[in-house]
Amino acid sequence: MDDDDDGPRSDLSTAPDGILATRASHGDTEAFDELLHRHTPIVRAFVYRIVGTLAETDDVVQEAFLTAWRQLTTLRDPDAVRAWLMKIASREAYAHVKKRRPHATLDGFDRAADPHLLPEATAIRNAQLNALSAALDTLPDAQRRCWLLREVGSLSYTEIAEEMNLPVSTVRGHLARARASITIRMEGWR
């Protein structure tokens, strides 16, 4: 038996992120459910870029949201909950990858693991985004992680540095290298 069989829920779909995160941090599971639904697609896309297969993405994102629930009381800026979720997801994703292949760094990966996904995806994206996608896949681990956290997660240099336990100058370096690699690839430069 659970406590779901109750009256009409208030409609939280128009509530801003900040309100939802504040309520969830005080135990409102419905607010958390709304955050879960709202941000699952982008968090999945983010994690998929890191782990490479859908099955692993499902598991990692579940764990990430559960971790987020447990750590909600540590969220300092409720309005920035989306970026905070990406941070947690990135942590879980890289921990997962490390477990999977403890000795190697991931310098690029083979999406043949999910071939059914590729034709659909390429039909939607134009050639430029395809080039970007391929470029992201070939980045070294650390560069890709910095890049995703910065450009998709909107984290500051300092937050990324804390997250990855690196000096800010190294983070800048990774971002510059990633940006250069991606741009060369997308522009089709030799």
Partner: protein, 103 residues
């Protein structure tokens, strides 16, 4: 040792039939705090129909969700009364309201 007949008695009351009760829950693990009795009297028991009965039926504990249409204290008291009626030898009855659902 659990007396099987005592456990069967505790299964008898239908708590969900009490007006205002929306759901009944396994009262662990919060129940030790609510009961304020020795935790070992309750800790290792399995609930029957979501009511925990200690050895010899001395303590009963349950947790419920209620509808807002009936005042939660009234519902809690009614459930306690039901448990007292069906378990007259009880020394302690604990009822905890975990959710008040608007509707």
């Amino acid at each position: 040792m659990i007396d099987p007949e005592r456990r069967a008695d505790a299964a008898a009351p239908d708590i969900t039939a009490v007006p205002g009760v929306v759901a009944v829950h396994d009262p662990r693990p919060l129940i030790a705090r609510a009961v304020r009795a020795g935790a070992d009297a309750i800790g290792s028991r399995e609930p029957v129909a979501e009511v925990i009965v200690s050895d010899a039926g001395a303590t009963l504990a349950t947790a419920i969700s209620v509808s807002s249409r009936t005042a939660a204290p009234d519902v809690a008291r009614a459930v306690a009364d039901l448990l007292l009626t069906t378990n007259p030898a009880a020394e302690r009855v604990s009822v905890q309201v975990r959710r008040i659902a608007l509707g």
